[in-house]
């Protein structure tokens, strides 16, 4: 269940985006990029995820949804998106892009090139 890790802080494809403490538990913040917003989530048990801030259904801003376990409910039409895989749950079909996110000494690093790494 452990994943090998590269020294993220020194690598150019990882961008520091802020402090872990800036994300509320069971909440999210957005990072603005030229390609659109990325939503950074923090779960109740202190896991962090980065996914596109657009629901595959009608582009609802996922960062505004209710976080439950490792999933978020879209605020527009209640699609439930798995934060680990970006996939819609239940009867709905669709997938959101996920990004690499690492927490190093309470700082958050985001990678657009890396897939999600899970501890």
């Amino acid at each position: 269940m452990n994943v090998a890790v590269t020294p993220v802080a020194e690598r150019a494809d990882w961008v520091e985006i802020g402090a872990a403490a800036d994300i509320p538990y069971r909440g999210a913040r957005i990072v603005q990029t030229p390609q659109g917003d990325v939503a950074i989530f923090r779960t109740m048990d202190d896991k962090f995820y980065a996914i596109d801030n657009h629901c595959p259904h009608r582009q609802g801003p996922l960062a505004q949804g209710i976080v439950m376990g490792d999933a978020v409910t879209c605020p527009l039409h209640s699609w439930v998106i798995d934060l680990k895989t970006g996939e819609a749950q239940g009867a709905d079909h669709g997938c959101v892009k996920t990004y690499g996110l690492r927490v190093i000494e309470e700082r958050l690093f985001l990678s657009f090139a890396q897939p999600t790494l899970v501890d």
Partner: protein, 829 residues
């Protein structure tokens, strides 16, 4: 510092020299393993910073609480080192690793050459950098010196503040309390031990800690440690000051990698090692809490032992064994609290969970499964099966065959299935079941037994329970089922959501009957089947708690839909609409000017008049919301709650002030109603109307609460609708004065707040409980009306705070700001 020990003669054959930095449990275990595998290979020398031999650090808590002594927790006494011809330099700090010269240098200037070096420097306590953190009386909790300092302080009695509600902090708190100190634990997170426990188990743990007389303050951020020449207290960032004779900081540990880093070894969060425990220098190994392996640093003892085995194998010359990381299990060493957690218990699409809650016995068990294998375990209250679950987890055993009964543990032999009536069974005899008629559980159960009642109607007839609004019907039926067993067939109840078998009414009644005052408390005591609920039950529970415990329950904004969290209405493109309140639909040139200015200043694309006589500003960017509100606040306007399950609008016509048909001051009454009811949270939205005559220009007869003014007074109409369903109101009664209208309005609002299911409009609630029931409590029974109105007014004293002004002042500011901007040409810091 003592002079260096004389080096004893070494047995022949020990040709290579092994130097160990650190004399803790990891180092000790490596040496034991090495002596077993290759006793004659190395000449061994240890440098330990503490002036002691190797003792069992994880047993410090029993020493603190007085259940064990230092002697009991020794691992290697002096004789052990002598027997194995190991040179131990106690109290000698190594200050440099000279990799080129292959030697280490101590603070006293002594140099010791090595062929192989083992770094086992452990960890250092993390001290939060607040003012006063270095004052005398501020202790950490890491070694025997810390324990001795705590014991010395405890002898004088007084008050201790423990910062940190994790494993170590709670053990320190329990130890100090058992030594006679009063103790407060301040913890940054919402629940205790959040890294090892889920919120449900954290809630139970907090209850158990509090029962020991220890105060627990969660969500508490320490701002400063107070005192001049020694500590005298702690100040939190909410301004609260807690007096303290000692402060124990137990917020975490950091790998101690100072030496390794200075020597140029590859370091991350800890000293980096590969699967053979080798650092970036092949002659230097590292084990224990100082290392980072595959990105993970460990702070528990089991991984150290795994690492020690691998390191010793490598040192002994054998190859092939690799350390692949550890799954750790945690047990709190506080006597009387049974708690066990292991593995990974986050939820996920590919994961399933099995939850068992026994409210009566305070038990919570949760297994997280992936591909029919256990990946996480949390046990509270009954932990005997912990090691068994842990073994299944480590072995990756397929549990498909035993899934049905797995949660009951290893010794389970066909007991009863989970009982849906458990929550009701756990209620005390005094617990009130029927709120309308004040009937408690004991009376119902007694009547069933004494009078031989077998049906709901009989219970209603004999006890009056469930005979008014019927909200408690589900509970009464469960009591029948409990008393009569399988003989009783109760009507099916629609559960709130997949997380529970209980319906909305049952949950509402039980929250009050059991005095449940937080979401984790409800989920535990009512046997929720999931660990933290879903988007259906969480907003409902938040509302039920908020309406049941005004002034006490702290709103959980993360259990609200975005509109109520952002205090604006989200639109299809992710922008928001803003509707300022216009009392009774009345505005002024000043307000209109401010709205116009705001619309231009923030380039708000659409300004529209709503059906409820308000002005809607559509297309506001989320980050602009606080600034927009600030400008509207400055002109005297507050939130219109157009986004809330709450009082929306009171629509009025102009009435006697201008209208030639008007019979009463309908506008004035509308303003009064709105001033009275704004800010109230309700099961669903509430719309009101006041019409000055039966021509009904304010469309009062399709509102939730509507007034038709007539010459002789006011007709009160309720339960209309004009949305998906269109329904004219029911006539409630006619009253003579404006004050009568306000009292009936307050009573209706409160009855709806207390009985309505979440997301059930007033017309649906009235249809469910019956218009006659509502009339009886609001119209016929004057005392009941007064009480309801009084409870409403009391709740309003906490609710009527403008949420916009709070956020303009800085509340939840991170809700409205992006975390960062990246990849743009003008990169902002």
């Amino acid at each position: 510092m003592a002079p260096l020990d004389m080096t004893p003669a070494k047995p022949l054959g020990r040709t290579l020299k092994l130097v160990v930095i650190g004399n803790g449990m990891a180092a000790g275990r490596v040496l034991e393993e090495l002596l077993e595998r290759a006793p004659d290979q190395y000449d061994m020398t240890i440098f330990g910073a503490e002036p002691r031999v190797n003792y069992n650090r994880i047993m410090l808590s029993p020493v603190l609480s007085g259940e064990k002594t230092y002697g009991d927790i020794l691992i290697h006494d002096e004789g052990w080192y002598a027997r194995h011809d190991i040179t131990l330099h106690r109290g000698h700090e190594v200050v440099e690793i000279d990799r080129e010269g292959k030697r280490v240098v101590t603070a006293a200037g002594h140099a010791e050459p090595y062929d192989k070096l083992l770094i086992a420097t452990g960890s250092v306590p993390f001290v939060i950098p607040v003012p006063g953190s270095t004052l005398p009386g501020v202790l950490s909790y890491r070694d025997l010196d810390d324990v001795n300092a705590m014991l010395a302080a405890a002898e004088k009695g007084g008050h201790a503040v423990v910062i940190g509600g994790g494993l170590l902090g709670l053990e320190a708190a329990a130890g100090l309390a058992s030594r006679g100190m009063t103790v407060t634990v301040v913890h940054l997170m919402p629940t205790l031990m959040e890294r090892q426990l889920d919120p449900a188990a954290g809630y139970l743990l907090e209850q158990a800690i509090v029962t020991r007389g220890i105060e627990v303050v969660t969500k508490a951020n320490t701002q400063a440690i107070l005192g001049e020449d020694r500590v005298r207290g702690v100040r939190l960032d909410n301004g609260r000051e807690i007096a303290a004779d000692i402060v124990v900081m137990a917020v975490g540990i950091r790998p101690n990698m100072t030496l390794a880093k200075a020597a140029g070894l590859d370091c991350g969060r800890g000293v980096k090692v590969d699967d053979a425990m080798l650092t970036s220098d092949p002659d230097i190994l590292a084990v224990g809490e100082c290392v980072e392996h595959r990105g993970i640093c460990y702070g528990l003892v089991a991984p150290l032992y795994d690492m020690a085995k691998v390191a010793a194998t490598g040192l002994g010359g054998a190859a092939g064994r690799a350390y692949e990381g550890s799954v750790t299990a945690t047990k709190l060493k506080v006597t009387g609290i049974d708690l066990y957690s292991a593995g990974d218990f986050a939820e996920g699409k590919d994961r399933e969970e099995i939850v068992l809650r026994d409210a009566a016995r305070g038990i919570y068990k949760r297994l997280v499964l992936k591909d029919n294998r256990i990946v996480g375990v949390v046990l509270y209250g009954e932990t005997a099966d912990g090691p068994w679950f842990f073994r299944l987890l480590q072995d990756g055993t397929d549990v498909s065959d035993m899934r049905e009964t797995l949660i009951f543990g290893q010794s389970y032999a066909g007991g009863a299935p989970l009982d849906p009536t458990a929550a009701v069974a756990a209620l005390s005899h005094e617990a009130e079941i029927c709120g309308c008629n004040g009937v408690c559980k004991g009376k119902i159960v007694g009547a069933i037994a004494e009078k031989g009642l077998t049906t709901l109607d009989e219970v209603r007839a004999h006890t009056k329970a469930s005979s008014s609004c019927g909200s408690c019907t589900g509970l009464v039926e469960q009591l029948l089922a409990l008393s009569l067993g399988e003989d009783y067939q109760k009507a099916a109840v629609t559960p709130m959501c997949g997380c529970t078998d209980l319906g909305h009414s049952d949950v509402r009644r039980l929250i009050v009957a059991q005095s449940l005052k937080s979401i984790p408390a409800v989920m535990q005591e009512l046997g929720w089947k999931t660990s933290c609920g879903c988007y259906k039950c969480r907003p409902a529970l938040n509302y039920y708690l908020l309406s049941s415990w005004p002034g006490e329950y702290e709103d959980d904004s993360k259990s609200r839909f975005i509109n109520e969290r952002a205090h604006a209405n989200i639109q299809k493109d992710g922008t928001y609409s803003v509707v300022p309140r216009m009392w009774g639909g009345v505005t002024s040139p000043k307000e209109l000017r401010a709205i116009a200015d705001v619309a231009e200043k923030f380039a708000i694309p659409t300004v529209k008049v709503t059906g409820g006589q308000r002005i809607d500003l559509l297309g506001v960017k989320k980050e602009d919301l606080p600034a927009v509100w600030a400008d509207l606040n400055a002109a005297g306007m507050v939130s219109g709650h157009a986004y809330g399950k709450s009082l929306r609008t009171v629509k009025t016509c102009v009435g006697t002030e201008w209208c030639r048909f008007g019979t009463q001051d309908s506008t004035g009454l509308g303003v009064k109603l709105e001033r009275f009811t704004w800010g109230a949270w309700t099961p669903h939205k509430v719309k009101m109307g006041v019409s000055g005559c039966p021509r009904n220009c304010a469309e009062s007869t399709v509102k939730d609460f509507g007034i038709i003014c007539v010459d002789s007074g006011y007709e009160i109409h309720i339960a209309g609708a004009a949305g998906l369903h269109v329904k004219a109101t029911d006539f409630l009664c006619k009253v003579e004065t404006e004050n009568d209208v306000l009292e009936h309005c307050g009573a209706l609002m409160q009855l709806y707040r207390e009985q309505g299911h979440y997301l059930e409009r007033i017309f649906k609630w009235v249809a469910r409980v019956g218009l006659d029931t509502v009339k009886r409590q609001i119209v016929e029974d004057e005392a009941s009306r007064r009480e309801l109105n009084g409870r409403f007014a009391y709740a309003q004293s906490f609710a009527q705070i403008d949420p916009w002004a709070e956020r303009v002042a800085g509340l939840d500011s991170q809700e409205f700001q992006p975390l960062a901007r990246v990849g743009f040409a003008e990169v902002t810091a």
